[in-house]
C-alpha cells in the first residue's frame, strides 16, 4: 500500500489547537488527557481546556451530552488554550453541531462518519446530513469510519462488537497522534498500565489505538503529517499539572513548611471536589479529610481543627461560600488561621456548575456580616495554584486570619507543564504558639491574654488546647484584649479598627505589583486577576506587536492590594480591566483609588480568548 505520509516530510508548524468532542460517554477527556501527556513528554508548551456537560446523564447523542477537550500545543511559550481550534474531532453529529462554530474558518474537521445516520442526526437536531448538504463547505473534512474500523480491529481479540465500539476514542487518539507525530510508546505504556486489571478492555484499546495510527499511515487522506517542535523551556524537571492538583499539592507543601498537620473539611461540589479526592488519597502525609454533612460543617470542622493547631482548609465553590459565610465571620472574630478555597463557577445559584466564571470576588470581599475584612488571593494559572496555596497559608498563619483563595473552573481543570520546584527552596512558614503567660493580672498573677497583640503584625497569640496554664475561652462575642466578653462601645469600635488595620497591614508584607510589557509611557494599562492572565497576556502581546505601548498588571493579592498599586494606577492614561464578571475588580479599584478603570466583561462560562482581548484593548485605545 502506498505510504503517502512517509513520502512527504512532516510539515513543521509552530502551534496547533485541537479540539476532541464527543458524547460524554465517548471518553473524550481521557484521550485528551493522554494526548496532553504525550505532547508534554515531547517538550511542547501546552495549555488545555476540558469542558464537561453540566448534566451527568444527558441522553446519548444529544447536544446537552457533548463533552469536549481542547489542547493548544506549541513550540514556544503560550498562555491560553487557544482561540479558535484548527482541528475538530467530532465523534458524532451532536459534537459537530455543538462545536463547529468554534472552529477557525477553513479548519479541519475529522468526523466519525459511522455515526452520521438518521437517528443520530435527528438527535443532534440536523434536518439533513451536514456531510452531504454543503454545511461544511470551506472546511477540510475527513470522514473516517471510526466505529466500524475499531470493531474490525478488535474482532480477532474475540471482543463483542458492542464492547469493541467503546474503544473508538482510542482509534481517534491513534489517528490524531499520527497526524501530529506524537510518539506512540508513552500512550501504549499508559494504556497497558491504566487498564491492567481489565485485559479485554486493555487489548481492545490498544488495538483501536494501533488501528487509528495505521489508518492515518495507510489511508491516503493526509498529504503530510505535522510536527510541533519542543518549546524552549527553563532546564529542569517538568510535570503536567492541573489547578486542582496543584492546589492540593500546594496545601500539602504548606503543611510541611508550617510543620502542622493538614486538615480538610469539605462537602462535595463541582468543580472543587477533586481537591478533596486528592487529599483523601494522600493520607500518608498525615492528612485528615472529613467529607462533612454539609458546607457549614465542612468549614466548622476545619475551624475546630485550626483551633487544635492544624493547618485547616475548607474547599468549595460559590454556593458553598454563601453557606459558609457565618462561620467565616466567626473565624474573623476568633482570629484563627483558616483557608477557604473557592473554585468559582457560573452563578448565581446552581448556575453553570461545570463552567468557569470569576464572579465571587465581591462575595469574598464583602459576603459576610459586620465589618469583617479578610485577605483574598487568586492564582493566575494552573501551576500557580501551588504557590498561591503556600502564600495563602503563610498569611493565614502569620496573621491568624481566615484567607480566601479564589480559583475557578478553568484553572481547576486546565493543565500546563510545570517546572517542579526544589522543595528545599520553598519558604518556611511555621509560626510559634504561645507556651507561657503574656500578662500579669491585677493581683500580680501571671495570665494569658488571648487578644494581646503583636505590636507590628497585630496578630494575637495562639495557645493550643493542651498547653498547661494558658486555659482560656474564645468566642464570637466582642471581647477586650484580655479575651473577656465586652459590650463597651469603645471596645467594639477599637476592635473593629484593629481587625481592619491588621488585614490592611498585610500590604507591607506582600510583593509590590510588577508591570509587564511597557512599564514606561504606556498608552494603556490592562489590569487583571486570576485565570484571565493567559488570555490577557496573549492579547497584550498582540497589541504590542502592532506597535502600541501596553502595560499589564496581574494581581494575585486582591485584599489588601499591593502597597504600590495606587501609584501604578494613577500614573496611567487609560486603565482596562478584563474580568469574567460584570466588573467586580474594576469596581474595587475605582472605589479604592478613584481611577477611571474601564471594564471588559465576559460571562459565558468560557474563558476569554487572546483575540477577544486584542480587540478590546485596540477598541479602548480609540477612546
Amino acid at each position: 500500500m502506498a505510504d503517502t505520509a512517509a513520502r512527504t516530510d512532516p510539515k513543521q508548524i509552530e502551534r496547533v489547537i485541537i479540539r476532541f468532542a464527543g458524547d460524554s460517554g465517548d471518553g473524550m477527556q481521557l484521550v485528551g488527557d493522554q494526548f496532553t501527556s504525550a505532547s508534554a513528554l515531547l517538550g511542547n508548551d501546552l495549555v488545555t481546556l476540558p469542558e464537561y456537560p453540566a448534566e451527568i446523564r444527558a441522553p446519548a447523542g444529544t447536544l446537552a451530552g457533548v463533552s469536549a477537550f481542547q489542547i493548544h500545543i506549541s513550540d514556544h511559550d503560550i498562555t491560553t488554550p487557544g482561540d479558535a481550534p484548527n482541528v475538530l474531532v467530532a465523534m458524532n453529529p451532536a459534537a459537530l453541531r455543538a462545536e463547529l462554530g468554534r472552529l477557525e474558518p477553513h479548519g479541519t474537521v475529522i468526523v466519525n462518519v459511522d455515526t452520521f445516520e438518521e437517528r443520530n442526526l435527528a438527535k443532534a437536531g440536523y434536518e439533513s446530513n451536514p456531510l452531504t448538504d454543503g454545511a461544511l463547505k470551506g472546511y477540510t473534512v475527513f470522514e473516517v469510519p471510526m466505529t466500524s474500523l475499531t470493531r474490525q480491529a478488535c474482532e480477532p481479540l474475540g471482543v463483542k462488537p458492542r464492547d469493541a465500539e467503546r474503544s473508538k476514542n482510542f482509534f481517534a487518539l491513534g489517528l490524531v497522534s499520527f497526524m501530529y507525530t506524537r510518539p506512540e510508546a508513552p500512550t501504549i505504556e499508559w494504556i497497558k498500565a491504566k487498564f491492567a486489571s481489565k485485559e479485554k478492555v486493555r487489548d481492545a484499546n490498544l488495538a483501536a489505538f494501533h488501528a487509528g495510527h495505521a489508518f492515518g499511515e495507510t489511508a491516503e487522506l493526509f498529504d503530510h503529517v505535522y510536527e510541533v517542535a519542543p518549546a524552549e523551556q527553563h532546564p529542569g524537571e517538568y510535570t503536567n499539572i492541573n489547578g486542582n492538583t496543584a492546589l492540593a499539592w500546594g496545601l500539602i507543601a504548606a503543611s510541611r513548611l508550617a510543620r502542622m498537620p493538614l486538615f480538610l473539611g469539605s462537602y462535595p461540589i463541582t468543580p472543587a471536589s477533586d481537591i478533596l479526592h486528592e487529599l483523601a488519597k494522600q493520607k500518608h502525609f498525615g492528612i485528615r479529610t472529613l467529607q462533612a454533612e454539609d458546607e457549614i460543617a465542612g468549614i466548622g470542622a476545619a475551624l475546630g481543627a485550626a483551633y487544635g493547631g492544624h493547618l485547616a482548609v475548607t474547599t468549595t465553590s460559590g454556593p458553598g461560600v454563601a453557606l459558609k459565610a457565618e462561620t467565616i465571620g466567626l473565624a474573623i472574630s476568633l482570629e484563627l488561621p483558616l483557608l477557604i478555597i473557592d473554585i468559582q463557577r457560573g452563578g448565581p445559584s446552581t448556575g453553570l456548575p461545570t463552567k468557569t466564571e470569576q464572579a465571587d470576588l465581591l462575595l469574598a470581599m464583602y459576603g459576610h456580616h459586620g465589618e469583617s475584612p479578610l485577605p483574598i488571593l487568586a492564582p493566575y494559572s494552573p501551576a500557580h495554584c501551588f504557590d498561591t496555596a503556600i502564600e495563602a497559608a503563610r498569611i493565614a498563619l502569620e496573621y491568624r486570619t481566615p484567607v480566601m483563595l479564589l480559583s475557578d473552573g478553568y484553572l481547576a481543570n486546565g493543565a500546563e507543564p510545570w517546572l517542579i520546584p526544589d522543595v528545599d527552596t520553598l519558604p518556611d512558614i511555621a509560626i510559634e504558639f504561645a507556651t507561657a503567660p503574656n500578662h500579669t493580672d491585677a493581683d500580680g498573677n501571671p495570665a494569658f491574654w488571648p487578644y494581646q497583640r503583636d505590636p507590628e503584625t497585630l496578630a494575637r497569640p495562639l495557645a493550643l488546647p493542651g498547653t498547661p496554664g494558658l486555659e482560656h475561652r474564645i468566642g464570637g462575642l466582642e471581647k477586650d484584649e484580655a479575651g473577656h466578653v465586652s459590650y463597651v462601645p469603645e471596645v467594639h469600635e477599637q476592635m473593629v479598627h484593629v481587625r481592619a488595620a491588621k488585614i490592611a497591614g498585610i500590604a507591607r508584607d506582600i510583593p509590590p505589583v510588577v508591570i509587564r510589557g511597557d512599564a514606561e509611557d504606556a498608552e494603556i494599562l490592562v489590569v487583571g486577576w486570576g485565570s484571565t492572565w493567559g488570555a490577557i497576556s496573549g492579547g497584550v502581546d498582540r497589541v504590542r506587536a502592532l506597535g502600541h505601548r501596553v502595560a499589564q498588571v496581574h494581581l494575585t493579592h486582591l485584599n489588601p492590594f499591593p502597597a504600590n498599586l495606587g501609584d501604578v494606577l494613577r500614573a496611567q492614561r487609560r486603565i482596562l480591566v478584563p474580568e469574567m464578571n460584570l466588573g467586580q475588580l474594576a469596581r474595587l479599584l475605582r472605589a479604592e483609588y478613584l481611577v477611571d478603570a474601564r471594564s471588559v466583561t465576559k460571562v459565558k462560562g468560557l474563558p476569554f480568548t487572546a483575540g477577544e482581548l486584542e480587540v478590546a484593548i485596540l477598541g479602548a485605545l480609540d477612546d
Binding site: Y238, I296, G304, E471
Partner: protein, 339 residues
C-alpha cells in the same frame, strides 16, 4: 512535662473567674455545679479539656469552666467539635447547648456527630423553649404550647431527643435532670468515659420562660411515681416501694404494670447493650414529661470511634507508602527533563 499523675483539684480549680450570668434560679446553675464537682473526680488535666458551645443560654457554659473553650455560633458546635476531636484525639471535648441550638438550627450536625461516633460528650440542656431570644417555642415544646411566636398554641410535633439520638446511631444515649446532682454526675461520668459520641439529654428548668415544665416529673413529691430509673442488668421498677415496673406485652409493646399483679419475673430487665431497639422502645414510653419517664442510660455500646479509625487509616497508609515525601509527590505524575 514529665508529670504523669493528674494533679489533685477541687471544684474551684475548674471554675473560671467569670461571673455566672444566668437568670437567678435557672436550672443551668445546677448543671454547671454538677460538671464542676465531677471534673476533679475524673482522671484529666484542665488543659486537656475543651468545652465547645453554640448559641443560647446553655451555650454560655464554656465561659464558666476554667478549661479551654469556644463559644461559637448557633448550631455549629458539633461540627466544630468534630474537627477539633479529629485533629486532637487526646483532648476531651464537650459539646454544650440547648434544644434549639442542637435540634433545630444544628440538627444536622447533631445527628452526624452521633452517627460518625466522634469522641465527644454532648450535653444537651432541654428546657423546651427558646430562652436567650426570650420565649419562642422550640423543637421540643409540646403541642399546644402558647408562646410569643405561637400565640394560638404550637401545632408542631416535638422531637423526642432520645429517639432522635438513637435513630442517629448514637452509641451512648442517656437522660438526666437538673434537680438531681448525684444522678447528673453519674450520667456525665459514664458519658465522659464512653469512647465515641455520648449524648446526654438534661431536663432543665427555664424558670423565666417555661417554668415548671418538668415539675410533674422532677418535683420532689412527684419523683417516685414519675421517674423510672434505668439501671443496667436490673428490672425496670419504680414507685416509692418499687411497686411499679415496665413489662413487654405479647403485642410487643412496653407497658407500665403493677409488679404484684404482673409478677416480678415478668418485669423487663434493662440492657444498655441491647442492640435491637430496647432503648428506642423505652424512649417512646413517655409522650412527654407529664407521664412516667425513664432516666438513666438508654444505650451504651462500643463501636469503632471515628478519630481512632482516622488514625488507623493514616498509619496503614504510612506503613504502605512510608511517611509522605513531598519531592516524590511532585514527581508522581509523568515527568520529563529539559536540559
Amino acid at each position: 512535662m514529665t508529670e504523669t499523675t493528674v494533679p489533685v483539684t477541687t471544684r474551684k480549680d475548674w471554675s473560671s473567674d467569670q461571673e455566672v450570668r444566668w437568670c437567678p434560679g435557672c436550672g443551668d446553675y445546677s448543671i454547671l455545679a454538677a460538671v464542676q464537682f465531677l471534673m476533679p473526680e475524673l482522671d484529666v488535666r484542665r488543659e486537656d479539656v475543651v468545652f465547645v458551645s453554640g448559641i443560647g443560654c446553655a451555650a454560655r457554659f464554656p465561659y464558666y469552666m476554667n478549661t479551654y473553650g469556644m463559644h461559637s455560633i448557633h448550631g455549629r458546635a458539633a461540627a466544630i467539635a468534630t474537627g477539633l476531636a479529629m485533629a486532637r484525639p487526646e483532648l476531651k471535648v464537650f459539646v454544650v447547648g440547648g434544644d434549639g441550638d442542637m435540634l433545630s438550627i444544628g440538627g444536622n450536625h447533631l445527628i452526624h456527630v452521633l452517627r460518625r461516633n466522634i469522641d465527644v460528650t454532648v450535653l444537651m440542656f432541654n428546657n423546651q423553649i427558646y430562652g436567650l431570644t426570650k420565649g419562642q417555642y422550640s423543637p421540643t415544646s409540646e403541642v399546644g404550647k402558647v408562646t410569643k411566636s405561637s400565640p394560638y398554641g404550637s401545632i408542631e410535633t416535638p422531637f423526642n431527643p432520645i429517639s432522635v439520638a438513637l435513630g442517629a446511631e448514637a452509641t451512648f444515649v442517656a437522660r438526666t435532670h437538673d434537680m438531681d446532682r448525684q444522678h447528673m454526675m453519674e450520667v456525665f461520668r459514664r458519658a465522659y468515659e464512653h469512647r465515641g459520641a455520648a449524648f446526654v439529654e438534661i431536663y432543665q428548668n427555664c424558670n423565666v420562660f417555661n417554668d415548671g415544665a418538668f415539675e410533674p416529673l422532677t418535683g420532689k413529691a412527684n419523683r417516685d411515681d414519675m421517674i423510672i430509673p434505668l439501671v443496667h442488668g436490673q428490672p425496670i421498677r419504680f414507685g416509692a416501694d418499687q411497686e411499679k415496673g415496665v413489662a413487654m406485652g405479647t403485642d410487643g409493646r412496653l407497658r407500665i404494670v403493677d409488679v404484684a399483679k404482673a409478677g416480678a419475673d415478668n418485669i423487663l430487665v434493662h440492657d444498655e447493650q441491647h442492640d435491637r431497639g430496647l432503648g428506642f422502645m423505652l424512649s417512646r414510653l413517655a409522650k412527654g414529661p407529664h407521664e412516667p419517664t425513664p432516666i438513666g442510660v438508654f444505650r451504651a455500646v462500643q463501636y469503632p470511634e471515628y478519630g481512632e479509625e482516622v488514625g488507623r487509616q493514616i498509619a496503614t497508609a504510612q506503613e504502605r507508602n512510608g511517611p509522605g515525601d513531598l519531592a516524590a509527590l511532585l514527581r508522581s505524575g509523568a515527568t520529563w527533563r529539559v536540559d
